[in-house]
């Protein structure tokens, strides 16, 4: 659904999204990795059961919450990608011990 405008970057960072590897550019946020994986949502809402995803892209809406390297409730738009990062969509609320 989302397509990168400029595909000519040479440094590539490998990130796994829901078990699938994608290649993104250094300096991208995790939102780019999620879009590159063909997803437009990061979580299933605990209240409505709806798919919710990135909206403001500037850290104020808290819609783009996702689990990164085992830590839930991370804002995808505020987190830069790292080599080997594991991103999992968030389904409902986090547990107290995760």
């Amino acid at each position: 659904m989302f397509k990168r405008i400029n595909d000519t970057f040479t440094d590539r960072v490998r990130v796994s999204v829901e078990g699938r590897d994608v290649l993104v550019a250094p300096g991208d946020t995790v939102v780019a990795a999620i879009f590159a994986a063909g997803k437009d949502y990061t979580r299933i809402s605990s209240i409505s059961g709806e798919k919710r995803g990135p909206y403001c892209l500037m850290g104020v809406c808290y819609e783009c919450l996702v689990e990164i390297d085992g830590v839930p409730n991370q804002q995808a738009c505020q987190t830069p990608v790292r080599e080997g990062m594991r991103v999992i969509l968030q389904r409902g609320l986090r547990g107290l011990r995760q």
Partner: protein, 377 residues
């Protein structure tokens, strides 16, 4: 500018949880009621409190107040059902039972002495609160690990919590549903009596009423002074922290930690004499966070989402003040720091007292004579 006077039977000044509960109760008496609210610059304890419906630990020194608190907690389930029956708005009220943790043996002994004092004061009638040591407290909280250093707690099955923003919204909704008229951004500038009518002036309008209820939290002091009354209430700051949302984990309400219906943990508390300052402070935020982590170490992993400071409305003995002015009969003062816990009584006994002069038994315990202060300056 509208120079006409809006007339009504009763004006309630203050649209917080106390004002709205009294105003809602008054609509059920058949009186016409106007509720005036100051606006966004008011201190608004109604929107900043912890949401506890709390019985234990209150009222050493006044058996009447203990009875008042007990009656309120007994009436809460039916009050919640009454409001829900009008507008279908959930309050998320739960009688979960309540714990007040003791962090040291000294704290435990001190708390036990207080609870024993309350039991003695209650005489033959049971006082529903017991001291529990660490393992029994942990047994009550199967979903969460209790910190090792917690010695124990006092527990009462009568305590619980609710969503205070939902309560305020619902009270306002029920008030208007029953024909009450609400005027926000109408701070009261002047109250005076002309013949038998009280004229209340806000910047935007004037109101005429035969009875006036002052239920404006810390603002009641200034309003009461317009009618020669000196009400000895002082602000006390409390700070509250909010965490990110978590699956339902904590099934009991604690005096300083509870999990909301949406999943956030609310963490408190502080008791600061700082005047009318509602800032948060790093030192107090740290202290609240540390104590919460000592209670439940797994909270350390959670992110804090926001924090705020707000003012409790405290009388010198922390009990309510309910009085009718002697110089200006028809003017009532209703103030308490337990607006949430006491809401069912503020919605039934207080209106009965105001409209039908049905004075609850022992009500004199709640007026100013107990402070031996001059009522007029």
């Amino acid at each position: 500018m509208n120079t006409g006077i809006k007339t009504t039977d009763i004006v309630v000044i203050g649209g917080g949880i106390i004002g709205a509960a009294v105003a809602y109760g008054l609509t059920k008496t058949g009186s016409s009621v106007v509720m005036l609210d100051e606006g966004d610059t008011a201190f608004r304890a109604a929107r900043a409190n912890f949401g506890l419906v709390w019985f234990q630990g209150k009222g050493l020194g006044s058996r009447r107040y203990v009875e008042w608190c007990l009656e309120a907690t007994d009436k809460w389930p039916e009050f919640a059902a009454e409001l829900f029956g009008i507008n279908g708005m959930a309050l998320f009220y739960e009688n979960t039972g309540g714990l007040r943790l003791c962090y040291t043996w000294e704290d435990f002994q001190k708390r036990k002495a207080l609870i024993d004092g309350l039991k003695d004061q209650n005489g033959k009638r049971p006082y529903d609160c017991e001291m529990l040591e660490h393992q029994l407290v942990q047994d009550m909280l199967p979903g969460v690990r209790l910190g090792e250093s917690i010695v124990g707690a006092s527990y009462s099955p009568r305590d619980g919590h609710l969503n205070p923003l939902c309560l305020l919204t619902s009270l306002h909704d029920c008030f208007q549903h029953k024909g009450g008229r609400y005027f926000p951004a109408h701070a009261v500038r002047k109250i005076r009596q002309v013949n038998d009518v009280f004229i209340i002036e806000t910047g935007a309008a004037r109101f005429g009423a035969s009875k006036v209820v002052l239920a404006a939290g810390t603002g009641t002091v200034h309003l009461a002074s317009m009618l020669g009354m000196r009400i000895p209430i002082q602000p006390q700051r409390g700070q509250i922290l909010v965490t990110e949302r978590v699956r339902p984990t904590l099934s009991v309400a604690l005096e300083t930690i509870r999990q909301t219906n949406e999943g956030s943990f609310l963490l408190g508390a502080s008791h600061e004499e700082v005047g009318f300052d509602v800032h948060t402070s790093t030192a107090v935020v740290q202290k609240i966070a540390r104590r919460a982590i000592r209670a439940f170490p797994d909270l350390a992993a959670l992110k804090l989402v926001r924090c705020w400071g707000a003012l409790r409305v405290l009388s010198p003995d922390e009990m309510p003040i309910y009085l009718e002015s002697e110089e200006f009969p028809g003017v009532y003062v209703v103030t308490s720091h337990s607006g949430v816990s006491l809401a069912p009584l503020h919605a039934c006994h207080i209106p009965g007292w105001i409209v039908e002069c049905r004075v609850p038994q022992g009500f004199a315990d709640f007026d100013l004579r107990r402070f031996h202060v001059q009522k007029n300056q």
